[in-house]
């Protein structure tokens, strides 16, 4: 198991290196110039002389391969650099933002799981009956609904019409815990809707497949109650594909937050990523991509290790 984890971590390092190198060249290939953004964006008309001066100051006039090697050297020292736009250290800002995204992504994943799995079980057990039909229809609607639509609907109903919950914004839980809780509810639901639908679908089909297996028929034949067949045998075996999907969903929640954070004005990494791309703030884009890809790889690793817990036959060597 230890060997397996070490091997996976080495793979992670290689994957990360490829990702950061690719993204480095890709962002530099994009049209647009951070110097131009620094000089004021849409309303400004800086002269060519001013742009050249800023490029020189930022080191953007150096050959691209030199910039790349400098970047790798700094990265090896865990130095992600500073934002070109406001000189703030990239790592500091990422460490500030990641927890805020987790504040909605983790509850969203939990919510999606505790809603999706039981509904999937119920739908499978009531296959082709009314309950199944209703749950399946809702689940398809849920994962087809774009999060900016569900987000806006929630705001219109609960913030503007009913005035129960704030429409947007973030406050630090340390300053105002009740305010913080009231603000995570809507974005968490908006973020959880689609994965809940998907998890429910996965659970239903996986469980139907297991219910048709010989061991389930045998269990029933030897007189076990339906209850015992489902929860004692079938449920655990049905979880394999669901866990895989949960792992993927966790990764997508991280990136899916780009849209939900925009609707709810949530100052997490989604908003930061969008700003950095719109500012062509190269070090910030690179830092964000590095963090997001690391998160993906680690979540995958955790998912793979979870299989062993569900199915003891799986060995890591």
């Amino acid at each position: 198991m230890i060997n397996y984890i070490i091997r996976r971590l080495v793979q992670t390092a290689i994957t990360t290196f490829i990702v950061v190198s690719l993204i480095f060249f890709l962002v530099h290939l994009l049209p647009g110039d951070p110097a131009r953004t620094i000089l004021g964006g849409m309303t400004a008309q800086p002269t060519a002389e001013q742009i050249a001066a800023v490029r020189e100051q930022l080191g953007l006039d150096r050959p691209l391969h030199i910039q790349y090697l400098t970047y790798l050297r700094d990265l090896a020292r865990a130095d992600l650099g500073e934002s070109l736009v406001n000189n703030r250290p990239v790592l500091d800002d990422i460490l500030l933002r990641v927890p805020r995204t987790l504040q909605i992504a983790v509850p969203a994943l939990i919510l999606a799981t505790i809603v999706g799995i039981p509904l999937g079980v119920v739908a499978a057990r009531r296959r082709r009956r009314m309950g199944d039909l209703v749950i399946s229809t809702i689940s398809v609607a849920a994962f087809s609904l774009p999060s900016f639509v569900s987000g806006l609907l929630l705001v219109v109903v609960f913030s503007i019409n009913l005035q129960w919950l704030p429409a947007s914004g973030w406050v630090s839980p340390a300053d105002d815990f009740a305010g913080f809780l009231s603000r995570i509810i809507l974005p968490t639901i908006a973020l959880a809707v689609a994965p809940a639908g998907l998890i429910m679908r996965m659970m239903r089909s996986s469980m139907l497949e297991q219910l048709g297996q010989d061991y389930a028929t045998t269990a029933r034949a030897k007189g076990l109650t339906d209850q015992k067949v489902v929860y004692g045998h079938v449920f655990r075996n049905s979880m394999m594909p669901v866990v895989t999907s949960l792992g993927l969903q966790a990764g997508f929640l991280f990136t899916g937050s780009v849209i939900v954070e925009n609707v709810f004005n949530w100052p997490g990494i989604g908003n930061m990523l969008l700003d950095s791309v719109l500012n062509r703030d190269y070090p910030v884009i690179q830092g964000m991509v590095l963090v997001v890809s690391l998160a993906f790889v680690l979540i995958n690793l955790i998912t793979d290790l979870t299989y062993g817990l569900i199915d003891p036959r799986i060995r890591y060597d």
């Binding site: 309303t43 060519a48 503007i160 947007s168 609707v263 004005n265 930061m272 719109l278």
Partner: protein
Amino acid sequence: MGGELRVGIARDVVNMAPWLSQGASVYIIQQNVYDNLINYDDDGNLAPELAVSWEVVDPQTYVIHLREGVVFHDGDTFDAEDAKVSLDMMRDPTGTSALAPQLADVEEVNVLDPYTVELKLSQPNVVVFSALASSTAHILSKEWLEAGHDLNTEMNGTGPFIFSEFEPGVQTVLVKNEHYWKEGMPYLDKVIAVPYRDDSARINALLSSEVNFIEYVPYIEFDRLKQDDAYSMYAGVGPYNFLHLNVNEPPFDDARVRQALNYLIDRDLLIQLTAGGAGVPIEVGLLQPDDPYYNEDLARWKFDPDKALELLQEAGYENFSDISFVLTCSTVTVHKDPAEAIQATLQGFGMNVEIKYIDVPTLLDYRQNGGYVAMMDGQSAAYQDPDAYSAYFETGAPGYSTATDFSDETLDELLAKGRVESDFETRKQIYHDFEERLLELTPWYFGYFRPQGEAMEAKVKGYRRWPGLLGAHSTSRFEYVWIEE
């Protein structure tokens, strides 16, 4: 009177550096912290701020008398040395100041006494005073600048509010300056600016009382907010929407085709479709009808398809369907909506128009370096003076000319003449001649002045909006605002 004003701004303030032109969202922060030497009164005329008066000693020597008894937020007293350092930074051609091109004729700034500075010019330039009244002409403290503070993250001005806190993506907080030089002001205790990039998030924040003031009200909400007693709405027309046309690429390498486009795209229809009916069509150039330099006799742009066809036929095209081009536009709503409406209009006449979408950094790149045949854009004049034309149409101008190699001797000469002429009537004639020549060349499709508005809860009182294109800068005067409880 007092209170805490929560403001929903359209984009996060990423950089606090002075003298940059970063748009209205940033002026809300910076212009309430920094003062200018000169600003505008309620009618849009130049008015004293940190200067008490100014005089033209001779055409190349301007003297500015400064206000006494003003202190910076860090306690330092404002004097001529501070004005000199700030002016020197503002005119540095290799620095980041947006006003460097307009102040290029200022050769030296001399301190005559602790409250008087003198500007020596290489040639007369009457635009200097308007430039000093622009939203980026900030006055900083010499001692503070020399102490090596980080200009990107710190601010120290003489304005009504003191910069207190910046949390990226969350809020920027300003607190009342108890020692502000305007007696008894400001009224507000605190201004908290919260960024809402998304239009619906911003309007929802106002409707759910998360904030009590928003800038850039989406057009579709104008009427609703105007009719609702719970809100006050202030709006005017300021920025102009237009198409950059590449004069060196077919089909727009012929002035007649460019003129035809100006007759063929119905401005009233565009305003109805994309500006809630609240815009003003451009009939001449970039001066609004209430501008003292406006020339009614030149008004010509009207929807006239017959005339357009005539011009196209003179240019050697048989029919509208012989014209096809790519229209480049950014995905910003105020660009995308009119571009799509233009595409639909022109296709209705049989032209073949394809839209190419780009993001904002690419737009900025194209503005300077070209890469388009026709490109949708929206801008507003950097300062209230017809010389603002020079940012686009003078040879080498960064706003248009460099991108398309547009260059015209007559236009250059007239712009140069306009800058040195101080007699109003003579100057007016110069800009009339300029516009006449400009319309002969018609390098753009001149669209319309689009509305811009701010909305606030009815309890927010005292907001003053400037007329005309200055309107967009009105949020820089929060010293007049208070919240009625």
